[in-house]
Subunit: 364 residues, 4 copies
């Protein structure tokens, strides 16, 4: 093993720099192996200055920092990236050029750090002959084959602190406080932070909700003397019978959260439940900044394990946390089914048992 | 001095409980004086269980907690509160009843903790014969006669941490990150956190902006290789020639921040400056939760000084911070002119000198 | 199930109140069952006012708070507690009285929240006929049969933040910074925070160290231009051939950390390695204050699962985290062997592979 | 103004990098002036690579970071620095060489950022013909002529958070918790954090204490049912009649806090007051890491004002905060008398009025 590459893809997640640092430190220290950093996702393969040397000095001091020193892709998937040509947006496949460039560089293997989208691309690169290993990254925790992705614990902590701050005002000022959280089609952030932050209602995509059930909970609390309620709402939550009618704050959609689920629920609460409501949309605060200890620990172990996996020729596989140990699983297993909240699992059962509403409670 | 009262009015601000605790501890320990807590603003005077005894036990452990153990008013100003009568909202003046009740309770004096609205009411109560002293509270820092109000430092720290988190994503992912902040008609929160958080553009109500100037700054940065920008935007900021066309997230207006200045600026940046923008509206996160050391220190000293002011018969006055000392000023001086950012002061001069744009920069 | 009890034992750990709250909310809401709180460990059984009713109101607002509303034991183990009698300290067994009192109270079952010491007592109570279930608590993470105890994640985050703070001064001011951490005979806190906080040397009880190896690492760094080093040192770490010669900061031993391992290592570094060293002993900062999201989540699920375990007659068992699910294991399994760092596991391998020294590295 | 220099001296303080950044951004943006950074205090003048160019790129991203990118002096005062020569430590005056080098570099003026020791040197350099301006830096807040130094607010916040964490354990576990804090001969950190963190006893150098008075307070609390006490102890606190008999954790003295005032008070409390005590020595945690918003704001304004002061030929002066404005004062005024806690001021009066003991209370 003389030369390997590393790239980071997709949205931001706290811990990306910790992975890069661990890849470099392990490769250099333990294998005397050179590391190339591919900048801006796969695009770096084709850009001038798109591939840089990553030595120990380059990764010094980056462990606690959010973001990624390698930058993120601007035009997405190398198999179908958007390019402006003669004033029109066209889709082009640049994968062959990327692969050729990787060979030209003498890269023996590539570490790809990303969520399910990026990992699918990594799988395809591996299939086409670029030996590739994956590291599961996303604040949404929706990648299969692993107990946790890195970035998730930080997002949950930020959301929990936000719920703590909203709590005191809600209680003093008799408000319904709604916190809209990220997660795409998975409810993990809202479920975890909702339980950790003492929410009264948790809305997640896996459990379609009824507006009336929310109102019943808020009213029931008011009538029993607790004049406030806290709602943790996943951006992908949606009413029964409708599929994600709301626009998301995520990376793919337009910026202003004009008609998000949080605002819609607030409008309903104000007008139908006759309670004063306030919405906060945490947005990108969940994606940036310094990672928690858990995410640094996980990201560091993932990065180091990815290098060892390459040394062991475990190509086409993703590193993964199982219990307290780092193992590895084939891409196919990790990507077979996106992970979702187990709505019969003990977390949801615990929440329901404590009186937290999910919006699917029948009347009466 | 045998019995005094304390009440908190208006929106939430970190440090309210610290004031209440200091009032009680100082009155009990130093003057052997009883303290009554009036709940839910002035409304408590007229409600059953609206006036409670505050002994040392009642204030134990509340120093680090956000909110107020006395609750906040639901129907506002006692001189003109909104009441539903026969299905209609009518305005009624309950001040005479409040004053009568205060006398009936044997309250020798009242500590009123609030922003300019509440302090105006306090002034009026004092004029009508209820000996009153004031404590300046607001996260907006817009009360005159004092260097700082309590609550402000916490809000600025939360906003600064948010800017830190947005910074790393902005830099890695080449985004224009817009953080909309509270402050009503004063730009202190945006100005302070914008400087502390390294913003590139700061928009405040005191300096009407031009959309083009924002675009020039973003584009100038992009062309010099810095592909991201951070904007700290006060909710009350508005374009030149228009007076606060945007709806506010504050307590007085409807919940969903559908057409706030942050979203409007983002729409402009995306469509005119051709840069990807993301908005975060911090909302009530700026008002709640545990206060910073500075706000606890200030709130505690204010509370204690208010009791000493009563002991010295300094009615009709507000405690105030000047340099590092607590003094007191007449209500009339504190309320004469709401405090605004001095646009020729050294903070704005410093920001401009470092290259931060305020949106009023001329072209070319 | 009509009436159950809950008690907390041993040293402080963030999350104790979250467990109590979950026990009460689950019992009341899901089983319509009354909960008694035993105060001050097992001692509450024999004290006046030692057993209190825990209703929903009693646990309102305690989720984010450190400590335990039930207090902690003053005189320890009910089978062998220390009592002063006629001026002498004698050991007495009060277990029979506790059991009699539990029966008298009509307690059908008892939830015991504690570390290995307290859980051994719980096991014995169960054996003697008081149906008991356990919840694993300790910042040290040294209880078997579970992936993690609650309290540990908070301790690791506090230690990691401390390392972050020390890092910037170490780098600017060319210092060797030593952080002494808790953990008793297990190195988990030092290992996890050392990796997450970017330590250069990690000393844990499971790997006896040589002073010379520490010096070699510090000197090697200095000679390669990095004029500072960060050491994360477990209070139970000790040189090869000596068994814990140092006094601990923990609950059992005398207060002043006069001769702790951190200070001893610092003395050595200053005198033998000729480098300026500074020691910080985090002490009880690791045990108190608001829990992280993970610890609240884990503690809440543990508390709820303990109530369900009682409902299912799973006495003599401890709730436990395995992967992402709460299961339960017999006390005997949990207590068979105290958990220690696996010195051949991937965490230690990862650290060594990145160049972190454990003090057992051979010369040359 | 074509070329100026900046150097940082003395112990670490959060905000140093913010000053450097503001100096560079203001000089480059507003004056088109070049900035040289002198590394490692005044020593950089005489070292190879000791003077570096500071352009905008060099200061990008350093605002939130602790430490100083310019490093700190290893051998102290240029007028009397310690050098090893032929195996002996000798004192030499290198100031003339520094001044010659500054002229050779074409530096028109120098910004010196430091505490009273460093500012005295700055004054002397100015007297000898190197035009110099000063910026007051120290976590101890003991520099005259300014309301606050930067670094202090961060130290107080860290100390207050530590008191919060200790509080919950103290209360649950019935302990006397002692937190030893920095501050050298000034009690500001202990006084401010003690009030903000709800301490029961505050010991500061300005008020010599009696052990018996501490014991009375602890015992009085225990007898009234509050079985715990929190003590905030300044490292420079000392008993009446003795002058700082304790060794300090500060930069000047040996590392291990073996006989510090915290440990001594703890020993006394355990043995004489018969209460379990625990000590935490915060040490360098107070000096490092990311600055608070206030310190960033103050440091940034100081740095910018220092450049404007040079432009206005205000040599021999120090920038200073008075109320909310940055002004400047002659070095002689700033250094005339070191600032100490005003023991008759409203902060101490407030604390005493709330029942906080300073250890000088008479018996009975």
């Amino acid at each position: 093993m003389k030369k390997i590459g590393v790239l980071t893809g997709g949205g931001d997640a706290p811990g990306l720099n910790a992975v890069i640092r661990a890849v470099v430190k392990t490769a250099v220290h333990d294998y005397d192996c050179e590391v190339l950093g591919i900048r801006n996702g796969f695009e770096g393969f084709l850009e001038q200055d798109g591939v840089i040397d990553l030595d120990l000095k380059a990764v010094s001091g980056i462990l606690p920092r959010g973001g990624t020193i390698l930058g993120a892709a601007n035009r997405g998937n190398p198999f179908a990236r958007k390019v402006e040509r003669n004033g029109e947006i066209v889709i082009e496949d640049i994968s062959a050029e990327c692969i050729a460039r990787a060979e030209e560089l003498g890269m023996e293997a590539l570490v790809v750090v990303g969520g399910d989208g990026t990992l699918h691309i990594a799988q395809e690169f591996n299939n086409r002959g670029v030996p590739t290993v994956g590291v599961p990254k996303t604040i949404d925790n929706d990648v299969g084959g692993t107990d946790f992705t890195f970035g998730f614990d930080t997002a949950v902590n930020i959301a929990t602190e936000a719920l703590d701050r909203l709590h005191t005002t809600a209680e003093s000022h008799h408000r319904v406080m709604i916190l809209e959280l990220m997660g795409r089609d998975a409810g993990f952030i809202a479920l975890h932070s909702g339980i950790s932050g003492g929410a009264d209602v948790i809305l997640i995509p896996e459990i379609p909700f009824h507006f009336e059930a929310i109102c019943r909970k808020v009213t029931e609390r008011k009538e029993s003397g607790r004049k406030f309620s806290i709602l943790a709402v996943s951006e992908g939550a949606h009413p029964e019978g409708e599929q994600q009618v709301f626009r998301r704050a995520g990376d793919e959609v337009f910026v202003a959260r004009l008609g998000g689920v949080g605002g819609t629920v607030a409008t309903f609460v104000e007008n139908v439940c006759q309670a004063e409501a306030r919405v906060t949309v945490l947005g990108h605060l969940q994606r940036g900044g310094t990672p928690t200890a858990f995410d640094r620990w996980l990201a560091t172990r993932y990065g180091a394990a990815a290098v060892r996996l390459i040394a062991n020729k475990g190509f086409g596989r993703m590193v993964s946390l199982q219990q307290t140990t780092i193992v590895d699983v084939p891409f196919s297993e990790a990507l077979a089914v996106p992970k979702r909240v187990d709505i019969g699992g003990d977390a949801v059962v615990t929440a329901r048992g404590m009186g937290i509403a999910f919006g699917d409670e029948p009347a009466g």
